[in-house]
Subunit: 225 residues, 2 copies
Amino acid sequence: MRATFHAQLDELVTDLVRMTRLAGQMMTNAAIALHQGDVALAEVVIAKRDQMNAMHDDTEQRCIILLARRPPVAGDLRAVVAALRAVGHLKRMGNLARHIALIARLKHPNPMTAAEVRPVLARMSLLASQFAEDAALVIERQEFGSESQLAEADHEVDALRRHLFGILFAEDWPHGVEQAVDAALIGRYYERFADHAVAVAAEARYLPTRRTPEPHGLETGCPRR
Amino acid sequence: MRATFHAQLDELVTDLVRMTRLAGQMMTNAAIALHQGDVALAEVVIAKRDQMNAMHDDTEQRCIILLARRPPVAGDLRAVVAALRAVGHLKRMGNLARHIALIARLKHPNPMTAAEVRPVLARMSLLASQFAEDAALVIERQEFGSESQLAEADHEVDALRRHLFGILFAEDWPHGVEQAVDAALIGRYYERFADHAVAVAAEARYLPTRRTPEPHGLETGCPRR
C-alpha cells in the first residue's frame, strides 16, 4: 500500500514536470507567433490549452484519489497538497499563453508590436519561458538554489514591465493608443506567467525526491518519461 | 471524531464566506478610492490585503489538518479540496483589489479615469463586488441557481471590457496613452476579480450545507458569525 502510494505520487510529480515544460513551450510558441505573425503557430498554442486543461483535470483527480488513499505520513500529505496547488498555477499558465496566441491571431496580418517595445517584450517572453523550464528543473532535481534564483530573476521581469511602461508613456510614442494597450496587456500576461512559474517552483520544496531511479535520470538532465 | 471533523469543516465554510465578503468589500473600497481619489481608503485596502493573506494561510493550514484527520467519506474529502481551491481564488481577489488601490494611490491627486470610461469602469467594479457577495450567498445558502446566474452575469463583464476597449481605441480618444493603458489594466483587474468570484461560487457545490443551525441563519440572510 505504502509503495503504491509513493509510486503514484512519483508519477504525479513526473506529470507535473511534463505540464511545466508544456506551459513553457506554449509560451515560447505564443511569443514566436506574436512576434512573427505566425497564425498557424498561434492555433497550435490555442489547441494546446485544451490539452493542458485535460492534464490539469486528470492530475487534480489523481491528487484527490491519493488523498482518499490516506497519505502514510504528514510529508506525503503536504506533497499531494503542493501538487494540487501547482496544477492550478499550471492551468493558469496555459491560459496566459493562449491569451498571447489569441492576440497574435486577432491582430494578423498587422504587425503585432511596435519596434520600440519589441526587444523588451521579447526579453519578457524569453524569461517567462525560461522560468517554466527552471521550475521544471527545480521539481525534477530538487535543487533549491535555483528556486531562489528564480525569485530573484522575477525582479528583472518587474523591471522590464516598468521599462515597457516608460516607453509607452513617453511623449514621443508614435503608435497610438491601441498598440500601447496591446503591449501593456501582453507585458502583463508575461509577468503573470512568470509569477506562476515562480509559484510552481516554490511548491517543489514539498514534493518528493524520486524514489525509483531511472536509467536516464538526473545526471544527464534528460526529461523523465 | 466524525462530529469534530464536521464541526471543523463547518467553521471552515463560515470563514470562506467571511473571506469572500472581505474580498468584495476590499474591491468596493478600492473602486471608491480610485474614482474619488481617496488615498486614505486606498491605504485601508492595501492593509486589508495582509489580513486576507493571513486568513488564506490560516484556512489553508486548517484544510491540511482536516485532510490529515482523514475525512470520513469521499464527499467530505471533496469539500476540503474545494475549500483549498476557493482560498486560492480568494487570496488572488485580495491581490487584485490591492492592485486597484495601488493605482489610486499612485495617481493621486490626478483624476484617475477619464470621464468617457468612468461609467463603464464603475459598472465593472460594481459587478465585481456584487459577484463576491453573490458567491458568499451561494456558499452560505447552497442556492445553485444563483451560481449559474453568476456565470451568466460574467458575460456582462466581458461585454463591458469590449465596450471599454472600443472607447479607448476610438480615434477621438483625447486623453493619451497613459490614461488608456491605466483604464485597460483596471478593466482587466475587475474582470479577473469577477472570474475568481465565479470560480469561488462554483466550488460551493462541493461544500457542505450547514449541519449546526444558527439563531440568525439562512432565513434572515444575515451573515454567519
